[in-house]
């Protein structure tokens, strides 16, 4: 049985944002194609288009050289295309068997579900990963009770349970241990022999070189290169992923390590551990703008939340020469910390409340009883003006603001308290270019005033343009620390992907 799948000039827009401008790939029976790209390059969008999760805005999908259109994931499944998601699509409170056979339950007469066949087929599937489970897996185990790696395995089994022709593995190895990855790769080999086509989306170079036959690299929504894996090296692929010309046009002061080292330490973290972080240690000095880099979801968010007292952690934190262990954001806030969270609408704003109330939320207590409204309004106006906040008035709801202005409100509510240490979680996400420029100026200004900033960004350009020093996180650990000349696009991307090219690891 031969199968081939091609994507030609795929375009996908989300509102005004172009996620994919020209996505192309080809994969055939008996091949593993690695789909590679940096954060936001369009990998996930392209796999979603192929799988029918999102509808394409332009271009063509060819299955066995015939144009096809999938209106839903169900339609793609019927044509033999299956995807293993990185964010799990399992229903936690249902059993393994029920999850795998959901909507396709084998039935006997009268439409009753045939439990025996389900159990037998599920056992067959589970035996594929025999020996790699920590727990005893039976078809009746509830998914919520499984550790993350075994959930991922169930997800894989679910995707292959209807014997698809094309299998897309979207970061499927991220939560598996080495034995499980080994077993998965053995299975991939048998699928190849059985004539299936496999698309392997991954950030792990080592795995790509182990398993893939061909590669396709995406950058900013364009397919920028494809070919045989045996013809390239890791560094060739990294270079393809990097857009040389687009480094931010923003000049930072030259970094003087000696001057910086004389300044007092603002924050010192020793062996900080959470569910995600596996022991993180670093120091930040006063007036420093320290960047946090790496792929999304490597523990940057958890680090910032733990420092701010929102999630529990183990380890030692010293802030301004005082040992602290915040258990509620309120305590952190009182000591002079501030957090701009990653999800503006869900974590940073009171969407239906006024701009005034959003700006003053952390500070009301300072305005006495009854609240001194005139004072609060003039203070809020002052901060709004300093941020160049474009609004119809302080009484208007935050929902009336654009993304960039809404983010100014989130930053503004902390500036009203003049914090000593700002923790920023991807603050320029979904913010227009003009406002981004204003943020950069603001951050540099704050540092010059002696404030300290810990800055995570999913945009490598920003880290390069703004920070003197960047810690790259990978799998909950600090993978490398990039300073001065070592801080360039190539080293940043390599470190993010876990590629070690001679430097410290």
């Amino acid at each position: 049985m031969n199968v081939s799948l091609s994507a030609r000039n795929i375009v996908k827009r989300y509102g005004g944002v172009v996620a994919l401008s020209d996505g192309n790939l080809d994969v055939q029976s008996g091949e593993v194609l690695a789909l590679i790209g940096a954060n936001g390059s369009g990998k996930s969008t392209l796999s979603k288009v192929i799988n029918g999760v999102v509808v394409l805005d332009g271009g063509q999908l060819l299955l066995n050289d015939k144009p096809v259109q999938f209106s839903s994931p169900q339609a793609a499944k019927e044509m033999g295309i299956s995807i293993v998601f990185q964010e799990l699509s399992l229903i936690p409170l249902m059993t393994i068997a029920d999850n795998i056979w959901l909507t396709r339950e084998p039935t006997k007469g009268l439409g009753l579900v045939d439990r025996k066949i389900i159990e037998k087929k599920t056992l067959e599937l589970l035996s594929l990963f025999e020996g790699t489970y920590e727990t005893v897996l039976s078809p009746d185990t509830v998914v919520a009770d499984l550790p993350p790696d075994e959930k991922q395995i169930v997800e894989i089994l679910k995707a292959i349970s209807f014997d698809p022709e094309v299998i897309i593995l979207d970061e499927a190895t991220a939560s598996l241990d080495s034995r499980q990855v080994q077993r998965l790769f053995e299975l991939v080999e048998t699928w190849k022999k059985a004539g299936k086509a496999i698309i392997f989306v991954s950030h792990r170079m080592e795995e790509i070189f182990r398993i893939a036959d061909k590669y396709t690299v995406l950058r900013n929504g364009f397919t920028v290169g494809s070919g045989e894996i045996k013809d390239v090296t890791e560094n060739d692929l990294v270079k393809l992923m990097i857009d040389k010309e687009s480094v931010l046009d923003f000049t930072r002061d030259t970094y003087d390590e000696e001057t910086m080292n004389q300044k007092p330490v603002c924050l010192e973290v020793n062996d900080l551990k959470t569910e995600v972080l596996a022991g993180v240690s670093f120091k930040v000095r006063e007036g420093e703008l320290l960047g946090l880099g790496g792929l999304q979801g490597q523990g940057q968010r958890e680090l910032l939340l733990a420092l701010f007292g929102d999630i529990p952690f183990k380890g030692e934190v010293r802030f301004l020469d005082e040992s602290v262990h915040f258990r509620h954001p309120r305590q952190a806030m009182k000591k002079g910390l501030a957090l701009v969270p990653g999800d503006r609408n869900r974590e940073g704003l009171l969407y239906i409340r006024s701009i005034l109330e959003n700006l003053l939320l952390p500070s009301w207590r300072k305005y006495g009883l009854p609240l001194k409204m005139k004072k609060s309004i003039s203070d809020a106006n002052q901060v709004a003006a300093s941020l160049n906040l474009k609004m119809a008035g302080l009484q208007e709801p935050v929902s009336s603001l654009s993304g960039g202005n809404a983010q100014k409100v989130v930053i503004g509510k902390w500036l009203m308290r003049s914090p000593q240490l700002l923790l920023l979680d991807d603050p320029t996400k979904g913010v227009d270019v003009g406002t981004k420029g204003e943020f950069y100026t603001l951050l540099t200004k704050l540092c010059a005033e002696g404030k300290t900033i810990l800055f995570y960004s999913s945009d490598d350009e920003e880290l390069l343009g703004l920070c003197d020093r960047v810690l790259v996180l990978h799998d909950g650990k600090i993978r490398s620390e990039l300073i001065g000349d070592d801080l360039n696009k190539e080293s940043l991307v390599s470190a993010s992907l876990g590629v070690t090219n001679g430097g410290e690891s």
């Binding site: 701010f308 954001p329 309120r330 869900r346 009171l350 239906i352 939320l361 952390p362 009883l369 609240l371």
Partner: protein, 322 residues
């Protein structure tokens, strides 16, 4: 262009006026007699006071969001009314102690509601409904079904009678206006009020902005209980008698009054002025049904259906929470 919008409290007042004018057209309405119309209007506002005060606590817990509601309010009214009745026993001197007890007992019940909702993570609906059963049971246990007591003359004088012989404004209405001012200050001019709106809108944002979500939420329920206790005190001051089913009929209209007053049932937005207007609308509807000389059972059915219609109508406002 700015869209023309009527704020919900104003809309409720307009609704009340329209309903009142319509009620004059009924066969046994006030017709063209202005004096009768005025005295009837005054009486309706006077009756709305009790519903309005009881709905104050409801306003707080509904603003606190996340399905906040207080279904124990009806039984708390009964309990605090009986306590007032028993403690006062006709003595003017015992009025203040009775008032304090009513408020304290209400606050205690609300505090327990708050603890169950926040620490045991019981949904407000289930927690307060269960508490309603507990309080009703407690009333029966304490009194063994018969109560002896009496309200004091000063209560009747202040609550039920006009302020002065030549000013036909009932004392209760004056109390209500002062109470409204207190509620406005509580919601708009205290840190607690601001935090209450914040936790009703988005608890993640609130926590990450340093708001103590748990204790603000418990505070809302405790305060709601205290206000309902005050409501019980006022109710018995008006009726002068107590019985086991005294408070329950206030419960559902109070929730409806909050909704009609423009407070979002999903939380995070609302005002007590709106609830006051809503209480007047609800009282009018009840009196309208009485004026139409419906039988007690038919009236109950119509009232129930009207309340459901109102709540569903107002409950449809979209929550902007994402």
């Amino acid at each position: 262009m700015k869209k023309f919008r009527i704020s919900p409290p104003v809309a409720a007042i307009i609704l009340a006026v329209v309903l009142f004018l319509l009620s004059g057209l009924l066969p046994n309405g006030y017709g063209s007699d202005v004096d009768v119309a005025i005295s009837q209007a005054t009486n309706i506002v006077r009756l709305a006071v009790f519903l309005g005060v009881i709905a104050a606590g409801q306003t707080l817990v509904i603003i606190s969001g996340y399905e906040g509601i207080d279904l124990s309010a009806g039984s708390v009214v009964t309990l605090t009314a009986i306590l007032t009745y028993v403690i006062v026993s006709g003595e003017n001197a015992m009025v203040i102690p009775a008032l304090l007890v009513a408020i304290a007992v209400g606050a205690l019940v609300g505090f327990i509601n708050g603890l169950g909702i926040t620490f045991l993570k019981i949904s407000p609906l289930v927690m307060t409904l269960g508490m309603s059963g507990v309080v009703t049971g407690a009333i029966i246990v304490i009194n063994h079904g018969n109560v002896s007591g009496k309200i004091a003359p000063i209560m009747t004088r202040v609550i039920a009678r006009p302020v002065a012989p030549n000013i036909p404004i009932p004392g209760a209405v004056v109390i209500w206006l002062l109470f409204g001012l207190f509620m406005w200050a509580l919601l708009e001019r205290t840190t607690f009020g601001k935090n209450l709106f914040a936790i009703g809108t988005n608890r993640v944002t609130a926590k990450l902005s340093g708001v103590n979500v748990t204790w603000t939420n418990i505070g809302a329920y405790a305060l709601a209980g205290a206000l309902t206790g005050f409501g019980g005190f006022l109710v018995v001051g008006n009726t002068g008698v107590v019985f086991i089913a005294l408070g329950q009929p206030f419960l559902f209209p109070a929730i409806a009054a909050v909704a009609v007053g423009g407070t979002l049932l999903s939380g995070g937005k609302g005002s007590y002025w709106g609830t006051m207007a809503g209480a007047i609308v609800l009282t009018l509807i009840t009196s309208l049904l009485t004026t139409m000389q419906m039988g007690e059972s038919v009236r109950r059915m119509v009232l129930g259906a009207t309340l459901l219609a109102l709540i569903s109508l107002y409950g449809r406002q979209k929550s902007f929470r994402q």
